[in-house]
Every structure is written in structure tokens, then in C-alpha cells.
């Protein structure tokens, strides 16, 4: 109980320390890949391995980023919000790695082939779309950009992350040959995170217009 109370009211310097620790922890997946690469630990098809691994981490970071708001709402731990930008930027960081690996190691800068791939292969189309949509979010992640855009407009823009995560899960789903268990888990978690938001916003609307007839809320 006491531990929960402490979490409720973290001091600013505690949050900073937590953030620093999290920053380093988020680098572990890429450091691990580097270590494995140096020690021949990436298996028979190293390029496939690092592509899959970075892809898995993008989805994980997107889901963790999307977890911040509901978790904060449920627990009242407002400091969680201070970690959100970094988590989102890590999703972008791993997306950049993932995309570079595709361009460089998979396609070897065969631009014609890449353009054809993006246009013709639905799983690549959605993956590429998700990556492109991440760029404006990363670019407007600074405090200065939030001020320039204004909080409301910034918020609307950043709701793009819902679409990005959905496209990311689709990208994974359409890529696997038959065993869809993993994409299914990502999809279910995403559905919960987005579903919670939908539920809350519906409730907010109904609470705000209590005079409206009930049928409108359905």
C-alpha cells in the first residue's frame, strides 16, 4: 500500500532518474542485436532476424506508448506522462532501423524495386504508410512544436498514432505465412488500448449531454 502511495506522488528528481533508467533500458534491444551480430548469434538468416526483431520492438514501443494514458487514468500516476514522448520516439527510432534494414540489407537501394514493392505488396504498403505517418509525429514532438501548433491541434495530429499502430499490426499480420498467434496478440492488446479510449470518450459525451435522449449514445 505504501509503495502505491509512493508511486502516486513521485518527486520530480525521482521521475528524472526513472526516465534516465528507462532511456537506457530502451536501448537494450538494439545493443543485444549488436552483440549477437558480433558473436554470430543471429542464426542462419541474420538479415531476417534483425528485421523481425526491430519490427517486433516497434510494435511493442507503440503499444507501451499507447498504454501511458489509460494507465495514468486508472492509477492517477501523472508522472507517466513525462515518459510518453521518449517511448514514442523510441518507436520511431526502431522504425528507422527497421526501414533502413529493408532499404539497405534487403533491397540494396534498388529504388525501382522498392517503389514496386510498396505499391504492389499490401503488407509493405501498410508498413510504409505507418512509417511515413510516424515522421510528422516525431518532428512535432518537441515542446517548441507543441507550442507552435497549439495543444488542441497537436493533440489531433498525434491521434495519428492510433492509425499507425493499427497499420503496424496489419503489416505483421499480412506478413506471416500461417502462424498468426503473435500478430493476434498485438492486435488484441491494441484493441483493448483503443477500445478503452473509445469507451471513455463515449462516456464523456454522454456525461456532457445528460439531457440528450439515451438512444443517441448507442
Amino acid at each position: 500500500m505504501r509503495a502505491l502511495n509512493t508511486l502516486q506522488k513521485l518527486r520530480p528528481e525521482q521521475v528524472s532518474r526513472l526516465k534516465a533508467a528507462l532511456f537506457i533500458a530502451c536501448l537494450i534491444p538494439v545493443l543485444r542485436l549488436g552483440w549477437l551480430a558480433l558473436h554470430h548469434g543471429l542464426g542462419a538468416n541474420p538479415i531476417e532476424y534483425i528485421t523481425r526483431s526491430t519490427g517486433w520492438w516497434i510494435l511493442t514501443f507503440l503499444l507501451v506508448t499507447l498504454l501511458v494514458t489509460p494507465l495514468r487514468r486508472l492509477t492517477g500516476w501523472n508522472w507517466l506522462l513525462r515518459l510518453r514522448r521518449m517511448l514514442g520516439l523510441y518507436a520511431f527510432f526502431y522504425a528507422c532501423l527497421h526501414f533502413s534494414i529493408y532499404i539497405w540489407l534487403d533491397q540494396f537501394f534498388d529504388w525501382q524495386g522498392i517503389v514496386k514493392d510498396i505499391g504492389k505488396r499490401p503488407f509493405i504498403t501498410v508498413g510504409f504508410a505507418a512509417f511515413v505517418c510516424l515522421i510528422p509525429l516525431a518532428a512535432t514532438s518537441t515542446n517548441a512544436m507543441v507550442r507552435r501548433l497549439g495543444g488542441r491541434r497537436w493533440q489531433i495530429l498525434h491521434r495519428l498514432v492510433y492509425a499507425i499502430a493499427t497499420l503496424g499490426v496489419l503489416h505483421f499480420w499480412w506478413l506471416v505465412k500461417k502462424d498468426i498467434r503473435e500478430p493476434l496478440v498485438f492486435g488484441a492488446l491494441l484493441a483493448i488500448l483503443l477500445g478503452a479510449r473509445a469507451l471513455w470518450s463515449v462516456r464523456k459525451v454522454t456525461a456532457g449531454s445528460s439531457t440528450a435522449p439515451r438512444s443517441q449514445t448507442i
Binding site: 542464426g43 542462419a44 538468416n45 531476417e48 505488396r121 505465412k177 500461417k178
Partner: protein
């Protein structure tokens, strides 16, 4: 004067030391892997391919072998596999197939044949002289290997079974034993895994009954004790752990066709012109290489097999 003598020694016999060294590395790798698996509290067993490899002797060199290509390292051949009976991960077969009992083993020959019979695995080893067949292996996923298989033409077996005039296709039924194969407990595919060939494809000398690789009996992750290899088709056509061979009149239903008929056809010939609905088949990554290479029509065996498909629309019969 220097007299050059053409060697009759098969490639795998020239390189026993390399194979031996690789096996040493493999053991070390397996130990590390085992430790990792142990940490995951999943339980583990040493890949059987390490301990049970039986050296095959008196292998004939086959003129049908592919030449001028580097062989894929044994370690990669035995640890990077699609073999869903042991899990869908590429390393699952090498980690989970250790418990598979490959003896005693029998293969039932039945259906439209004059001489239905059940062959013991030892009879299969003696049915015809064992040859080393170096073949390219192209997976439908876009990667490839070059593997020195050991076996003999499947036609040797067909001749002894004496199929009747009604036999138009061959169906391969493979082992489905949930006790020994953890992947079979999951409904990812319809078990048992079924494959099939048209009679003329099965009779083609390139199609082999495969009992070994790299000069040794087949390793469990590669389909021990007996499988088929059809080098001009995508890898999934080459069924592993065969328990039954049926000669039939109608085109058999194969597992991947049942799983997804839009993506996997009965023929599944390697064809860079006909893409998988979701990805290109134009290029492939040779395991052990960095870049990608162009995929060859019929996996480079067009001179030998193209005539089997004369007049057929390969887009329709993919």
C-alpha cells in the same frame, strides 16, 4: 608429366574435416542454445542431429548433382528449417526434434499398385545404391540453400511397387504424432502434413527418396529418417518423415493448398515470373550470403523438367 585423375569421391567425403569442425561448433552452439532454453524454463534436449549422425559409406557421385555452387554450411542446414510439426520458428525443429524416434520405422506403399507393401527403413536404405545429390533448395519464403542430399531416384521405388494404369498421382503422408511433435498439438495446419506429385513428376530422375545429407543419415530437423526432395519445386513440396506413399487416381489435396488455396498451388514450381500474392518470387537470399540473387526458372532445373509442363499455363497451375 602431370596426370590429372578425375576423382570419384563425392564432395562430402572430401570435406570430412570441415564437417567435423562444423559439428564441433554446432555442439558448442547447441550448448549455448540449450542454456538459453533452460533459462526460459522450457526444457530442452540436445539436437539429435549431433549425436545420432550415422556416416553413410560407398556413396555414388551423381551426374544429376548441381555443380559450381558452394554448399550451405551444415550448421545452417540443420538449424534453419521450416518444419511446423516441431514449431513455426526456424530454430524450433533443431530444438524440439531431439525426441523423435526414427527407428523402428516403416513406410507403407499402397493404393493403385500391384505390389502394396510395407517397407522397413533398412530395406529403404538398401533398395537402390545411395547417391549424393547436390541440389539447390528454394523456399517459398524467398531464401535458398545448396544441400548435398543422399538418396536415389524415387522412380526406383515406383518401379518396385508396380503402379497400375489408374495411378495418376502420388501422395505422401507424413508422421503426425503429437507425443513426439509438439507443433502437431497446435491447429496451425491440418495434420498430418500431406504432399503430392503428378506421376511423371514423381518418375522424374531428379525426384529422390532422401535418406541423408552431408554424407550422413538425415538429421531430425531435416526430416529423418526418410523424406523426398523435388529440387525444382518450392521446399514445402518436399515432404519429411514419410510414413505412407499412396498411388492415387485423383490429384491429392495437399496441406498448404488446404491451408490457403489462393497462395499455394498443387504444382508450386519455383517460378520467378509468378509472385506469391503477398511477396515477390523474383529474388532470393542464399543462406550464408549477404545480398540477394535472382531466382531461376524451375530453380535452375528447367533444362531437365520444363518439358513436363509443356502447354500448361503456369500462372493458372501455380
Amino acid at each position: 608429366m602431370l596426370i590429372k585423375r578425375v576423382s570419384d569421391i563425392v564432395p562430402s567425403e572430401i570435406t570430412p574435416e570441415r564437417v567435423y569442425r562444423e559439428r564441433r561448433q554446432f555442439v558448442a552452439g547447441a550448448l549455448a542454445l540449450g542454456a538459453a532454453a533452460g533459462a526460459g524454463a522450457l526444457g530442452f534436449s540436445m539436437p539429435r542431429s549431433v549425436s545420432a549422425a550415422a556416416k553413410l559409406t560407398n556413396l555414388l557421385k551423381s551426374p544429376l548433382s548441381t555443380t559450381g555452387e558452394d554448399l550451405t554450411a551444415l550448421k545452417d542446414v540443420t538449424t534453419y528449417n521450416n518444419y511446423y510439426e516441431f514449431g513455426t520458428g526456424k530454430e524450433d525443429p533443431s530444438e524440439n526434434s531431439g525426441k523423435l524416434r526414427v527407428r523402428p520405422w516403416t513406410v507403407a506403399i499402397e493404393g493403385e499398385v500391384k505390389k502394396p507393401k510395407t517397407l522397413d527403413i533398412d530395406e529403404l536404405f538398401k533398395l537402390a545404391p545411395l547417391e549424393e545429390r547436390v541440389y539447390r533448395m528454394r523456399c517459398v519464403e524467398g531464401w535458398s540453400m545448396v544441400i548435398p542430399w543422399v538418396g536415389y531416384s524415387f522412380s526406383e521405388l515406383i518401379k518396385r511397387a508396380e503402379p497400375t494404369g489408374k495411378a495418376k498421382y502420388v501422395e505422401f503422408v507424413t508422421l503426425s504424432d503429437s507425443e513426439q511433435m509438439p507443433g502437431v498439438r497446435m491447429p496451425i495446419l491440418d495434420w498430418p502434413y500431406l504432399e503430392g506429385l503428378r506421376m511423371d513428376e514423381a518418375m522424374h530422375p531428379l525426384t529422390i527418396v532422401c535418406l541423408g545429407l552431408y554424407g550422413e543419415a538425415l538429421a531430425n530437423p531435416n526430416g529423418a529418417p526418410v523424406r523426398v526432395v523435388i529440387p525444382w519445386k518450392y521446399g514445402f513440396k518436399s515432404g519429411k518423415t514419410i510414413v505412407k506413399i499412396r498411388f492415387v487416381e485423383q490429384q491429392p489435396k495437399t496441406t498448404w493448398m488446404l491451408a490457403n488455396p489462393h497462395e499455394y498451388g498443387f504444382y508450386s514450381n519455383v517460378n520467378p515470373e509468378v509472385d506469391h500474392p503477398r511477396w515477390s518470387q523474383g529474388r532470393e537470399r542464399r543462406i550464408g550470403e549477404f545480398g540477394k540473387r535472382r531466382t531461376l526458372m524451375f530453380n535452375g532445373y528447367g533444362d531437365q523438367v520444363a518439358q513436363l509442363y509443356t502447354g500448361m499455363d503456369l500462372r493458372k497451375f501455380f
